[in-house]
């Protein structure tokens, strides 16, 4: 995995804004090491791509939700782009700047093993995106294929933060 060269700016109110975010290109094994942690943290992971219209449509609501929870040390939102790795600089990074995406973004580049890692994320996943997964202490606690609404996200996040 490349280093996370994310430059962060901490504003006066303590909120963190990612600017000029560099997107690490990772394999599925590296992705697993990001979320299979017993750190008592709720990871909300969204699989998306810049070319995916419903994904792009739901991102503003994900960003709203992230703004509500990101100061909570027990919460982390991760966006996993499935754009082609060669487009990380030409498409993905400009998209993040233009759309003010403030969550940590990785690009998952493991095309030849899709038939292994898609079922490893969830047996019911047909491979269509967007898809959203919640992990708590390295264990998957929610999976949703298709768009999610803000209220649904908030309700599930609250449920799992309470159950910790």
């Amino acid at each position: 995995m490349q280093g996370q060269n994310t430059k962060m700016k901490v504003s006066g109110s303590g909120s963190i804004t990612h600017v000029d975010q560099k997107v690490p290109v990772i394999s599925f094994t590296e992705f697993e090491s990001l979320i299979k942690k017993e750190d008592n943290k709720l990871y909300v992971v969204n699989f998306w791509a810049t070319w995916c219209r419903p994904c792009v449509m739901e991102l503003p609501e994900f960003m709203e939700v992230n703004r509500i929870y990101r100061t909570n040390p027990d919460f982390k939102m991760i966006l996993v782009s499935l754009d082609p790795a060669k487009e990380v600089k030409s498409a993905v990074q400009p998209f993040l700047v233009k759309n003010k995406i403030e969550a940590q973004v990785y690009l998952l580049d493991d095309n030849k093993r899709m038939n292994q890692w898609i079922p490893a994320v969830d047996k019911s996943w047909s491979g269509s995106i967007p898809a959203t997964v919640f992990y708590l202490n390295g264990v998957k606690v929610e999976f949703k294929e298709g768009k999610m609404q803000k209220n649904e996200l908030i309700q599930l996040i609250n449920k799992h933060l309470k159950n910790k």
């Binding site: 038939n115 269509s128 999976f143």
Partner: protein, 199 residues
């Protein structure tokens, strides 16, 4: 603020319940309009041993990446009794690039040698259980019925046709042609979700 949002009724949808065909089910025939304005049904192919039904579309980068390989599949297998039947399942009101006019253009530009049908009214893809493009269903004719023998991806590398290790659809059709069981009956790959207004 948060409490107010929480108080609102939550619109939970059923999570990941995929209706549609499983391996061994009988697939429905259909009457769908082709890019040449003629109506096409599976039963039109009297001599077919089966079909490679592919839900695909114009706009999706994954579908585009596979267009040449779909043409090659038809070239290889139509004469052996397994023609490709391509169906665009998307609602053009949601994805304008997938209009019937757009399909005609795409079929002409790429020189499609197989029918490219429009699932007008979106009645067929939900019966099959297609969720994305491209999404393949290999059917085998048996006693007048079309039995689902394979569901999934075309091969294991959308981004590079020269670096494919497993040709899932070819392996399935080759097995059927040799009267052998299909070893890998279903696979998954990332694809573009099928566009419908109710989503």
């Amino acid at each position: 603020m948060i409490t107010l949002i929480q108080a609102k009724e939550n619109k939970m949808e059923n999570t990941a319940v995929h209706k549609g065909y499983k391996i061994g089910d009988t697939a429905t025939d259909f009457k769908l309009k082709n890019v040449d304005n003629k109506i096409v049904s599976l039963s039109d192919y009297k001599g077919a041993k089966g079909y490679i039904v592919i839900f695909t579309c114009n706009h999706c980068p994954y579908a585009k990446a596979y267009e040449s390989r779909i043409i090659a599949l038809n070239h290889k297998y139509a004469s052996k009794g397994y023609p490709v039947i391509a169906i665009n399942p998307n609602d053009p009101k949601v994805e304008p690039q997938d209009s019937f006019e757009g399909m005609k253009q795409r079929a002409k530009e790429k020189g499609f040698t197989f029918p490219y049908l429009f699932d007008q009214g979106q009645t067929i893809y939900p019966q099959y259980g297609a969720t994305k493009t491209p999404h393949v269903f290999v059917l085998q004719k048996e006693n007048g019925k079309n039995i689902v023998r394979y569901i999934g991806a075309i091969d294991d590398n959308y981004s590079d046709a020269n670096d494919v290790s497993h040709k899932y659809v070819e392996d399935a059709v080759d097995a059927l042609l040799a009267n052998k069981p299909v070893l890998l009956t279903s696979t998954v790959a990332i694809g573009c979700s099928i566009k419908a207004q109710k989503e």
